[in-house]
């Protein structure tokens, strides 16, 4: 059943496949996925918004800030029925004092750390519970990213006020 097309058809097919793909990539796919928009078409069509939306979600304003002896307040929204992870980069034995409170409903949370450079997916949990207010402190047992995983089991978004101080660099929301 399979037939071999003529050389002319083959060249035409290959060239047109590449051209169509290149046009789709440059005007639609790359703008929407990565906000790379050399032609400006993606922006006109509103596609770059998709990439921008996920970027702003991934990098809230606190990202990159260094922890000090003063408390800083970070607001994290946990969308309805979803989980988010908010992390801090900390060297070994660095200390963090924290307090967080939700705007009402309790959240399932897992305070944990992942060693720096680890690729196995290993992580160590310090506290796992469900609560709407927690105060405490911890010392990083190893260098890496430490922070909270919050899971909102309700059907409404829950805002968390996270108040922290200590030796850390804010990584922010993890995708």
């Amino acid at each position: 059943m399979q037939h071999t097309v003529s050389s002319k058809t083959l060249v035409k097919a290959s060239v047109s496949a590449t051209i169509v793909a290149a046009i789709a990539l440059v005007t639609l796919i790359l703008p929407a996925e990565y906000n790379i928009d050399p032609t400006g078409v993606g922006q006109k069509l509103g596609l770059t918004e998709i990439a921008l939306a996920s970027e702003t979600e991934a990098q809230p304003t606190a990202a990159g800030q260094k922890g000090t002896a003063e408390y800083q307040t970070i607001e994290v929204i946990v969308p309805a029925g979803r989980g988010v992870e908010y992390k801090f980069a900390m060297p070994q034995y660095a200390k963090m004092t924290y307090e967080w409170i939700t705007d009402g409903e309790p959240l399932y949370f897992d305070l944990h750390g992942e060693p720096e450079g680890d690729t196995t997916g290993y992580f160590e949990s310090y506290t796992i519970a469900t609560n709407n207010e927690v105060k405490g402190s911890f010392t990083a047992p190893f260098a890496g990213s430490h922070g909270w995983y919050w899971k909102n089991k309700t059907d409404k978004p829950i805002a968390v006020q996270l108040i922290v101080k200590g030796e850390y660099d804010v990584i922010g929301l993890k995708k």
């Binding site: 097309v5 083959l10 290959s14 496949a17 789709a24 990565y34 969308p79």
Partner: protein, 231 residues
């Protein structure tokens, strides 16, 4: 007999599509999966089975490759043979990749998977015979690309925090799920292609279809390579 098989297959596909549409419109599905995997320890057979099947059915890159592979196969024996080669390929690297903790860059693997789609489209057009006067062994090609598809599946699974506890059982469940998902998707693709084969438009549009396949492959490669270079 034949009719009954088709009838049952159609019903199965319809039931499955019903499930997909609910799943597709649900918000933050991947996030739920991640949360589930992070919160649950030990053997989770059915959930992993489901995640595997879902990944295959919603993983259009795997499906596009399969469309290319079975496009010109009309004998059940051939379909079975080629799909088995693909399955052997991707199961091997899925199990090896996760158990051996082989880290492969997900973007590069996905780019190769995209390339497999280009390859198959080009192959279906008789491109190798035309250009090089030589036809690479199609069964071996399916097996080799199957190996890459398996690494792709492995990287998806490695993105989650998979606890060691019950890993092998969960992995096997995931793999069985992948096969079930592939089987379900294949039934749908086969019914569509076989139905289409009876019409003259099949011959007329087979060149166009395989050109479109190549084009989608180029898009996948471009998307993944861009992702690789900017990350």
């Amino acid at each position: 007999m034949q009719n009954n098989v088709i009838k049952i297959s159609v019903l199965f596909v319809i039931a499955l599509l019903g499930m997909i549409s609910i799943e597709a419109y649900a918000h933050g599905v991947d996030d739920n999966t991640r949360a589930f995997l992070e919160q649950n320890q030990g053997v989770q057979f059915i959930p992993f089975l489901y995640i595997g099947a879902k990944h295959m059915i919603t993983g259009y890159d795997h499906l596009l490759f399969l469309v290319g592979v079975i496009f010109f196969l009309y004998r059940s024996k051939d379909v079975l043979l080629y799909v088995t080669m693909f399955t052997i390929g991707h199961s091997t690297t899925l199990l090896l990749g996760v158990l051996g903790d082989i880290q492969v860059n997900a973007y590069l693997i996905d780019a190769i998977i995209g390339f497999s789609v280009i390859y198959k489209g080009f192959d279906n057009l008789g491109g190798f015979k035309r250009c090089f006067n030589w036809q690479p062994n199609t069964k071996v090609a399916v097996l080799i690309f199957g190996l890459f598809h398996g690494f792709g599946l492995a990287t998806k699974l490695q993105e989650f925090h998979l606890p060691e506890d019950g890993l092998i059982t969960n992995l096997i469940a995931f793999n069985i799920g992948v096969e079930l998902g592939q089987f379900a998707a294949l039934i749908f693709i086969l019914i569509a292609i076989n139905a289409w084969r009876h019409f003259p438009s099949f011959q007329r549009f087979s060149t166009l279809t395989n050109t479109a396949l190549m084009s989608t492959g180029v898009m996948l490669v471009g998307l993944q390579l861009t992702g690789y270079f900017i990350n």
